[in-house]
């Protein structure tokens, strides 16, 4: 885009963010950014309500089957993996804040560095989640609801078959150094675990995609002090993903 750069008094190519003009229905760029941000908050509200459904399911099922809930959580989940993922998500939230700060200051290199760190954290989260949690659970048959298997190797016992719970009688399984007697409702704990973490994991995956998009826009000089609306909204989305994990981690892994 060619235009007159009034500040430097000579003609040159304006960078995309310098040449950015808000939509003609907006009074100025600030109002446009505020409007976009309000829209993003409204979207985040619907996301919060979506996850509120899962927290509701957690509360309801835990109230109905309290007896084995905590020991099932301690046996089927490794809190260290959850804690590592929490730290990683908090770090990525911090770096995306720094990316927005760099955009406000017009430091393009810093935007890029911070987005790359954020992206590494997001990918780390997904790799840990899938590689260290989901795949071993699938292999051992620790799947939600009717697909759950009490056998340590999976596949041999379906948990719920024609409305009846089939489980090895009084089988005290000691794995990972934890003595544990499978309960009749372990598959319900794992249902809550799978639906809430998989939906959250899908949000992390979408976050990875939009952060890639933000990196592309950074590389193309689209973010600068006068225009970083989409970067800010991606940041809001990413923080929401972080906040949801802040609640999921203790409820599923710790208590």
């Amino acid at each position: 885009m060619t235009a007159v750069d009034t500040q430097h008094g000579d003609k040159r190519e304006l960078l995309p963010y310098e040449a950015y003009v808000p939509g003609h229905h907006w009074r100025n760029a600030e109002d446009e950014a505020e409007g976009a941000k309000l829209g993003m908050w409204l979207f985040l509200s619907t996301e919060v309500l979506l996850f509120a459904g899962f927290f509701c399911a957690y509360a309801a099922f835990r109230l109905m089957y309290p007896e084995n809930w905590h020991s099932a959580s301690a046996y089927y989940l490794n809190w260290k993996i959850g804690a590592a993922n929490t730290v990683v998500l908090l770090l990525s939230s911090f770096t995306i804040v720094l990316a927005i700060r760099a955009a406000q200051q017009g430091r393009r290199g810093m935007i890029m560095i911070n987005l790359i760190i954020t992206q590494i954290c997001a990918l780390f989260f997904l790799v840990v989640k899938i590689g260290w949690e989901y795949i071993p659970k699938i292999e051992k048959g620790k799947l939600p609801g009717a697909w759950f298997s009490y056998s340590p190797h999976g596949g041999e016992h379906a948990a719920v078959e024609a409305g009846q719970t089939i489980m090895p009688a009084a089988a005290a399984v000691a794995e990972n150094g934890v003595a544990f007697v499978p309960g009749a409702h372990d598959h319900i704990f794992l249902s809550v675990y799978w639906i809430s973490t998989a939906t959250h994991g899908f949000h992390v995956f979408v976050g990875v995609l939009v952060i890639f998009w933000a990196m592309w826009k950074t590389a193309k000089f689209h973010y600068g002090p006068n225009h970083y609306t989409s970067l800010e909204n991606i940041g809001l989305y990413w923080h929401l993903v972080d906040v949801i994990w802040i609640f999921l981690f203790p409820l599923l892994y710790l208590v």
Binding site: A3, T6, V21, P22, H24, R27, N28, A29, E30, E34, K37, L38, W41, L42, L44, S45, V48, L49, A52, G53, F55, C56, A59, A60, L63, M64, P66, W69, H70, W79, A83, T86, V87, L90, L91, S93, F94, V97, L98, I100, R101, Q104, Q105, P225, N226, E232, G235, L236, H239, L240, D242, V243, I246, F247, F249, P250, L251, L254, V255
Partner: protein, 211 residues
Amino acid sequence: MNQHRDNIDPHEYLASDELPGHEHAHHVHVTPFWTMFWVFMILLFLTALTVWSSRLHYFSIGNTLIEFGATAHILMALAIAAIKSVLVAAYFMHLKYDKPIMTIVVGSTIFGVVLFLGLTLADLDTRSMTAKIEAQEIYKGGNLQLFAGETGPERAVKEKADMNVVTYASENAAAKDGNPDSHAEDGSHEDEPDSDGGEEDHAADEGGETH
């Protein structure tokens, strides 16, 4: 584009930051680094605290042993998570520096979540309380406290007006066993909305008497 701007913007709102003395028309709040850094550090500390508190099962002050059960652990974890979320929302998500309308949106969302979870828990967590009603040990509305000051036939009439479905059912069972006078005397519960089932039974009984 600029010509278009001049046409729609005679008061130069769009160009206000280019006017002399208006260089800072855009009040962009540059995110402070150290504030955010310390918020991040506090978040890490609270994460460690939530792990530690979940493994704390008892402690003692002097000779008093204090034990934490599942409920205490859930409440501690939720309290810490709530503090962390407020920090993330206020600082990382910039709510502290934004217009109040954003906080209003968040507040109404949280109100919705509290309604959603609160009503569900209020239902599920109190279902055991209906066991005594089902066992007919207590009556709906409280059959003892309501008429504490009154005695005699007046009290009996009022008690009857306040009876619930369970007592009607037993009353009707008694009527079928051959006590027709148990429903003969009062018209007081005719205008009571939730006694419809009982009324129908009465009507059926009276129809039976005309034969």
